[in-house]
Subunit: 285 residues, 2 copies
Amino acid sequence: MAPLYPTVTLVGVGLLGGSLGLALKKRGLAGEIRGFGRRASTLEKAKEIGAIDSCYEDFPKAIIGSDLVVLCTPAATVPEYLERMRMLVSTDMVVTDVASTKGDICSGFREAWVEPYRFIGSHPMAGSEKFGPEHADADLYEGAICFVEEMNGHDENAHQAIVNLWEAVGSNVVPVNPTAHDQLVARTSHVPHIAASAVAQLIAAYDDIDAFIGNGFKDATRIAEGRPEIWRDICLTNKESVLEGIAHVMERLKHVSDSLEAADAEKLDAFFQAGQDARDKVNKS
Amino acid sequence: MAPLYPTVTLVGVGLLGGSLGLALKKRGLAGEIRGFGRRASTLEKAKEIGAIDSCYEDFPKAIIGSDLVVLCTPAATVPEYLERMRMLVSTDMVVTDVASTKGDICSGFREAWVEPYRFIGSHPMAGSEKFGPEHADADLYEGAICFVEEMNGHDENAHQAIVNLWEAVGSNVVPVNPTAHDQLVARTSHVPHIAASAVAQLIAAYDDIDAFIGNGFKDATRIAEGRPEIWRDICLTNKESVLEGIAHVMERLKHVSDSLEAADAEKLDAFFQAGQDARDKVNKS
């Protein structure tokens, strides 16, 4: 049986791109996988581990003739690649991305591209604090939630092809409105990441603090290991929702600080109870 | 061979007290273990799981004749129990506690008690978001760090007995100055807990948010499941250091918020880099 996607182009071959290449290969879903990237060494590494078959440094050549193009670059660069894709996209091609923010990306291309759209935004909730093709994993997307932009002026077959792609690598597809998506992930991912980074910085000035670091600190700050440029871009492309979320956390911290200043045991109790109640929602899920 | 502690009294038989009882029993370190607590049902539960041998609702009776008394109650109640202990402590008895804050506790009793002191403050870095004797674990203290107040007017044998106690249940003892201890744990435990609780509250108003909750959110907010009254008391007994730590986190959040408002990519990069650098200290330990 012929593979589902005879030719695939991965634009960016880091953890997410590399893992997608391995996942497609492992499941026999792709014929040739082309890799495009800015760094020759990263492309070579991705080829070495079998995530891509060939390395491209020329963008149009990497795209033309491809059946599926997946933009696996940081969120802030996706609009620029979509602009470059515009003149290269054919009616045999489907295009998606893997960025953690969707509002700017899924609205920005609409004026320039021709309807019905063959770009469908995706956000697989996969990845970790690791990065680079050397950490790529053929099963990274297995069991993960993958948000896919809901039908909105898209080519129906192209949309279905992207849903099929994520399901084929083991993800559970959840259709979303890009704006609502960004508001929610600001609260469940972006702002928690910022807070974890701020908390990690509490120990920045200390040496020999090992004995004081328990599992609580480790868990609470694990995500602060994420790659700075990825999180910078996520913030910049989800500005309003992130600002709103930071303000919410600061308001809560101000409240607990005032309550402690006043030694108000009841208010402190209520604060921690509210945190426990909110966290309980997660346990039940 | 006779057990190291023929008679032990546990004041409070929740997760920490119950686990200590089980740990002493498992290792043959205790003869009779007496349990004192305010709730008969909790005492019964602790007896049922074998953490204590007998239940006491009369405090003096629970203490008199005991070789080792361990106060396993929330931090804010320890000074009150130390006051009640004062007239009951004998020269055959050693006393310690397990509270997460040490400054107030280790200074407060000094004027009332007679030198050389037979109370030595302890803080085993064990426990979790679970509570109650039903979650007690004979190996909870195995491999954990246990902070023990450094020698300071104590009876030397009593001090050594408390060091021996924690080592006997598998912990690694680290001697500390109580004030310095509290400053450090504010940054590595108390303030991270408060931040995790504030972050968890970001989802308080949302239902059906399951699909948006990834491992990052789960890790970052796990400690928010802690028992509110424990964390309220920790804050109240470590007020200055906790206030200072909250202010530090708020300053960092204000900085990232201002940087994002100005779309300053460089400052955002530096913020996340600082978080990664600080977190890297933990990985190396």
